[in-house]
């Protein structure tokens, strides 16, 4: 990702790079040597801070081990691609289990602190050396924390986007109930984006199904605001330009009021009380007569 690359180029001035690299190597050697102990300490702190409560102790320990190793590796190589991939995989695994953002950020920061403490312990006698080690350690550690947090959030956003997409796909079905007659049942609130999508689907549906009449049933829509109401009226007019008649059914009292308030031209809007009435009206327009005893006449009047 570009964010980590940007950070990488701005961390330290050129001449100090060499010494920073050697200090990081020293640091990594120290962390590898202390691995078991530090990991233990970290896992203990996680449990103590009541983080990752959705996971068992064993799972926490297993994850802690792999995070620890990836963490040290990122410190060593200075590249964050592997860590990024790991963070994404980790997020993919733990998001469905209800792990929150603060927990993920929390455990990474805990690890950073645990490692920093161990550095304090190791270098407490040589203050200048400690300073230099921390100079090397802190930017790298912060970058790791950012990488993991960003990876988690991105994964989360990806899931949310996918779900939104799925909901949107499901939300406006275009159903053909008879030759040249379409029904669009709309359920739930219509926001501007959904209104746009609705228009697109309706106009495209008219084209592909060669519809003459469309029944737009908004029984399941509790209310609409004026921009969306206007949009709806425009959709009806656009459908007319394609040679189709739109019948709107199931207007709630609130929606009726909104439409009257925006001053809709009732000559253009064909409205019927409920879906059944709408379908009957559509059949009438198409010249169908539905009768239980004989075949319906199919020749349009």
């Amino acid at each position: 990702m570009s964010s980590s690359r940007d950070l990488a180029t701005t961390t330290r001035a050129e001449p100090r790079l060499e010494s920073t690299a050697s200090r990081l190597r020293e640091l990594v050697a120290h962390l590898r040597q202390q691995r078991a102990q530090l990991r233990e300490e970290w896992a203990r702190l996680i449990t103590e801070a009541k983080l990752l409560t959705a996971m068992t102790k064993e799972e926490i320990f297993a994850e802690a081990t792999s995070v620890y190793d990836n963490y040290v590796e990122a410190l060593e190589t200075g590249t964050y691609e592997a860590l990024q991939t790991y963070a994404r995989n980790l997020s993919e695994r733990i998001i469905p289990r209800g792990v929150e953002t603060h927990e993920v950020v929390g455990i990474v920061l805990l690890l950073r602190d645990v490692l920093a403490r161990s550095l304090f312990a190791k270098y407490h006698e040589d203050f200048t050396e400690l300073n230099r080690i921390l100079d090397a350690y802190e930017p790298a550690a912060n970058r790791i924390a950012i990488t993991v947090a960003v990876g988690f959030v991105q994964e989360r956003e990806r899931i949310i986007r996918e779900q939104q997409e799925a909901i949107r796909e499901l939300s406006t079905p275009v159903l053909q109930v008879r030759e040249r007659l379409l029904i669009l049942p709309i359920i739930g609130v219509i926001d501007p984006q959904r209104a746009r999508q609705l228009t697109e689907q309706l106009l495209r549906g008219i084209r592909t199904n060669r519809a003459k009449v469309v029944v737009l049933d908004i029984t399941g829509v509790p209310y609409i605001d004026s921009p969306v109401a206007n949009h709806l009226v425009q959709t009806v007019e656009a459908a007319r330009l394609l040679g189709a008649t739109v019948i709107v059914t199931g207007l709630s009292p609130e929606i009726a009021q909104t439409l009257v308030n925006i001053g809709v031209d009732l000559g253009k809007m064909n409205t019927v009380g409920d879906l059944q009435g709408g379908i009957e009206e559509a059949e009438r327009l198409l010249g169908y007569t539905v009768s239980p005893t004989r075949e319906p006449a199919t020749e349009p009047a």
């Binding site: 106009l203 007019e237 656009a238 330009l241 394609l242 040679g243 189709a244």
Partner: protein
């Protein structure tokens, strides 16, 4: 770019092939209104399937064509407006008030045929001729 006008039975069919300048539109209007009596056409179909944009001048000219042809005793139907075009027209308030529109040429012919049914006798006179 001139718009070819074909005679098909009692109807004139003008199929727009590409984007039209204002002058092209005016010429289309004048030709159609002129020809309608020459060939004794009962209806006119203007096919705009090929148009990606229909602006205010085009809308007004199409409406003028329909009104003028009605005054000359025939009917007009605009066919093949694309879904995106339809919606952007409506957004601009260009709704072709009082002008018949249908999905495509086939529907347009059906529409004219149906609306002509009222004049059955004339129709019969034509078919027996």
């Amino acid at each position: 770019m001139q718009v070819p006008i074909l005679k098909q039975g009692p109807y004139l069919i003008a199929t727009v092939q590409s984007a039209l300048t204002d002058d092209d539109l005016k010429q289309l209007r004048d030709t159609l209104v002129d020809q309608i009596s020459q060939v004794r056409a009962r209806g006119v179909i203007v096919d705009v399937t090929a148009l990606d944009v229909i602006d205010s001048f085009a809308t007004r000219t199409l409406r003028d064509i329909a009104y003028m042809i009605r005054l000359r005793g025939a009917e007009t139907v605009i066919v093949g407006i694309q879904p995106e075009v339809a919606f952007s027209m409506v957004k601009l308030g260009l709704t072709l008030e009082g002008v018949a529109t249908t999905l495509d040429l086939e529907e347009g012919l059906k529409y004219l045929h149906r609306s002509a049914k009222g004049k059955v006798q004339e129709h019969e006179r034509r078919t027996h001729r």
